[in-house]
């Protein structure tokens, strides 16, 4: 096993706190997590563990900049400059740059854009990075074929797809780029066994290529197949103290 401290980390989470204030409910404050600290080095797959509602998804979303943090820092190595950038500081433009080049995210559910075909949904992150449209589309086709999505669906918008089909489009979109940090939120939840195995293979390929993965896997066989380390999020839970 790789020793985390010897290698330059790609992601450093340090002392992160998060709570929600529900203004529509009289301003009650719901603490979620506190003192969240961990780091990710290339080639490791860190799995966030713990029971439902403990704050796993919230941590993932904070690392992606989707949730704001109350305190602490989230440093991500910028692929372009090589410097660590603080995503938790909340500058939208820093987050946009990091998302484009350095940190990818496969969410639990695909947020389908109306009228955009599956293949274009998958190709979009590449095009955003300046890859030629034809090349990007070809690569997107390969990804979808690998995930056994019927080619007849490529040109259709995913809004009408089944849960598993949507999930595969989502995975293809997340895996098409070579972001050094990849966040996975239950990517195999709605997949059958055959496709699940393909995703496991794809994750292993990413890890072998030096990508650092932070994920949530409730699926125990998948978790055991890919995890290099498991962090128990219950340790960060703010609720037990509250």
């Amino acid at each position: 096993m790789i020793k985390a401290l010897d290698i330059e980390p790609l992601l450093c989470v340090d002392g992160v706190r998060k709570s929600f204030t529900m203004h529509l409910r009289g301003g009650i404050r719901l603490p979620v997590v506190e003192h969240v600290s961990f780091r990710l080095v290339p080639g490791e797959c860190v799995v966030l563990g713990g029971p439902s509602g403990v704050g796993k998804s919230s941590i993932l979303r904070m690392v992606y900049g989707n949730y704001a943090v109350d305190g602490g820092s989230i440093l991500v190595r910028d692929r372009v400059s090589g410097e660590m950038a603080d995503l938790a500081a909340g500058d939208p433009r820093v987050i946009l740059d990091l998302r484009r080049d350095s940190i990818g995210y496969v969410s639990q559910f695909l947020r389908a854009v109306p009228r955009v075909s599956a293949i274009d949904v998958v190709a979009e992150p590449l095009i955003a990075r300046g890859v030629d449209r034809t090349a990007a589309t070809a690569k997107a086709g390969e990804m979808l074929e690998r995930l056994h999505l019927p080619p007849a669906l490529f040109s259709l918008p995913p809004a009408t797809f089944s849960g598993g089909e949507k999930q595969r489009v989502n995975i293809a979109r997340g895996f098409i780029t070579d972001h050094p940090v990849l966040l996975l939120d239950e990517p195999t939840a709605s997949l059958d066994a055959a496709n699940r195995d393909i995703v496991v293979t794809m994750i292993r390929e990413k890890l072998a290529g030096g990508t650092a993965i932070l994920g949530i896997f409730h699926d125990i066989p998948v978790r055991e197949a890919v995890a290099t380390r498991i962090i128990d999020v219950s340790a960060f839970s703010a609720r037990k103290a509250a």
Binding site: F20, T21, M22, H23, L24, R61, G65, N66, Y67, A68, G90, P92, R93, I95, L96, V113, P114, R115, V116, I127, A128
Partner: protein
């Protein structure tokens, strides 16, 4: 009452001397600025408007006892209008009149310029029904005045474009617009375009009077008068295949005269004096009628679309913008307070980025948009815009001309109601082409090709290019408006509820289109919407406004997925789940 009922109290040439001086001052101004329409206090004349009252007033003001007056109507000395005006001046000024062009010192005319070249010392006075060349394209006088003031003449080419689109050539045959001394676009009164070249560098003084519209304009001797055209559709005068049946003249403007009730007809000089002079010199025509005369059409051109302009970095930066509207009350209309529509907003948009501005109705979104797009004055604050030349001036420091130039080149504005952003009565192609013509494109083939390409990009069938937007559905109009805005490759687009009035399926199509175009062209966009789904789809960053202030801002998905401010939480909680 005094005794002698002898002569009616006419001053020389009917008008009183004060009026003549006023009109002469207008004429002097007009001569000083060739082609510029000078307003004047047009008087009632003893003839109805439309009978040449403008020309009559100009003639009356410049007429002296020694002048020799010729009056023509459609080139003829013997038509009702010509005869009555000539008789009028013979009576009220007792001047000599003539039908001979060469003998006249002043020639008042309706619809023609004599065939015989005018000489130095002669003055030709045109009767003008509608002096404004832009009138049927832009109905607002305030707007056409600004357009003249800033020499913003793209619109006049829209008319010529429409001609070519409909007829394959520039079919305007009279009142053909000209540019005077490279500056003012002028309507030469409804003379046939056949006569346009005669105005160019004419040694005679040319005066134009519009009585009903109260305008005088002028061409001093030897003024450059250029008829407008396209590079691939150059200006051409009518050519006639026949010669005058009476005097055998060629290269003159001919009138068709019906000679019997069995289809007999002949073509004769419209200039009766020219015809008579030639006949007196012994030229005789064949008389029997010949084939009809049809103006020749130019060949249909083919062209390539213009090259794309490269995008330069763009920044719009607003600092502490305030727009306050005063509340006035009471008898004295004292200001008792202010409606703070926009109250201290700072924002920044960078190249290739889309900023969403959301908030409910009345939160000041549209006011903010109008303010940063220079359409509404601000009460306080600073708005700077990066120009193509790298300058970063405050919008308020730009001249009106610079600001308007920005609006039609660097900026686009997509209105919620497409009718606000389109010319509903000109064709789709001309709607798209207008902005190209406004930035100086003068090749019809290129303009049409670009317009066709853009219609295809916004998924409007190319076959609809010559249809007017009034015949389009709401979604098509909105897409046409988008094409019109994007054709000049602006760097910054302002959108005000671009999908507001559209049904859901059309909305998705327009959104998808906007998303693609914004990404492909690297545009910067400020989009105002109350629809959070639209903001999520199109914008990377967003501002949430309430009562003229920003209550929350940041990354779009962060604001929507993890809203902090009570108002944002309420907005997000109000979206129906789909």
């Amino acid at each position: 009452m005094s005794a002698a009922p002898t002569l009616p109290a006419y001053n020389f040439a009917y008008l009183d001397e004060q009026t003549k001086r006023m009109i002469r001052r207008a004429i002097l101004k007009a001569i000083a600025i060739p082609g510029y329409q000078v307003p004047f206090a047009s008087r009632e004349m003893p003839m109805p408007y439309g009978w040449g009252t403008g020309g009559v007033q100009v003639t009356a003001s410049i007429l002296g006892p020694d002048d020799v007056l010729k009056v023509i109507d459609q080139g003829a000395d013997d038509t009702t209008n010509a005869v009555s005006i000539r008789a009028f001046f013979a009576k009220v000024a007792n001047v000599a009149t003539t039908t001979k062009t060469s003998d006249a010192t002043i020639i008042q005319t309706r619809l023609r310029i004599p065939e015989a070249p005018l000489r130095a010392g002669q003055t030709i006075v045109y009767q003008v029904p509608i002096p404004e060349p832009l009138r049927f394209l832009e109905p607002r006088e305030t707007e056409t005045r600004v357009m003249h003031g800033l020499a913003e003449y793209g619109l006049i080419h829209v008319k010529l474009y429409e001609d070519i689109a409909q007829h394959g050539h520039i079919a305007t045959t009279y009142a053909y617009p000209v540019k005077v001394e490279g500056r003012y676009v002028m309507d030469p009164s409804p003379i046939p375009k056949f006569d346009n070249p005669k105005m160019h560098r004419s040694p005679a003084l040319q005066l134009f009077g519009a009585g009903r519209e109260k305008r005088i304009y002028a061409l001093p001797p030897f003024t450059d008068v250029v008829s407008l055209d396209f590079e691939d559709h150059p200006f051409q005068v009518q050519k006639f295949s026949s010669r005058c049946a009476l005097c055998d003249a060629a290269n003159v403007y001919l009138d068709e005269v019906v000679t019997d009730d069995r289809g007999g007809r002949m073509f004769v000089c419209s200039d009766t004096d020219h015809c008579e002079t030639r006949r007196a010199e012994g030229h005789l025509g064949p008389r029997p009628p010949q084939e009809s005369s049809i103006p020749e059409a130019a060949p249909e051109p083919k062209g390539a679309p213009p090259a794309r302009s490269t995008d330069a970095p763009v920044v719009v930066k607003g600092d502490d913008i305030k727009v306050w509207f005063p509340i006035k009350q009471g008898f004295l209309r004292r200001t008792v307070g202010h409606v703070k529509a926009v109250d201290g907003i700072s924002l920044e948009v960078r190249e290739g980025q889309t900023l969403g501005v959301v908030g409910e109705s009345g939160s000041g979104k549209t006011t903010l948009l109008n303010c940063i797009s220079g359409r509404l004055e601000r009460s306080a604050g600073e708005i700077r815009y990066r120009m193509r030349d790298g300058r970063f001036p405050d919008l308020a420091d730009l001249t009106e001309a610079e600001r308007r130039f920005l609006m039609r080149t660097d900026w686009g504005f997509v209105h919620q109601n497409p009718a606000d952003g389109l010319r509903m009565r000109v064709s789709a192609g001309a709607n798209v082409g207008e902005r190209l013509m406004a930035v100086g494109e003068r090749h019809y083939g290129n303009i049409r090709q670009t317009a066709t390409d853009w219609l295809e990009r916004v998924e409007i069938a190319a076959a609809r290019i010559d249809d007017q937007p009034v015949a389009f559905s709401g979604g098509m109009r909105q897409r046409l408006q988008i094409a019109r805005n994007l054709v000049t490759h602006p760097r910054l687009i302002f959108m005000d509820e671009p999908t507001g009035g559209l049904d859901v399926s059309v909305q998705a199509r327009v959104l998808d289109l906007l998303r693609m175009l914004v990404a492909d062209l690297g545009l910067s966009v400020v989009i105002v919407t109350h629809d959070l789904a639209v903001a999520r789809l199109l914008s990377q960053r967003m501002i949430v406004m309430k009562s003229g202030r920003i209550v929350e801002q940041g990354l779009t998905d962060r604001v929507l997925d993890d809203p902090h401010h009570p108002y944002t939480q309420l907005l997000v909680a109000s979206i129906p789940e789909s």
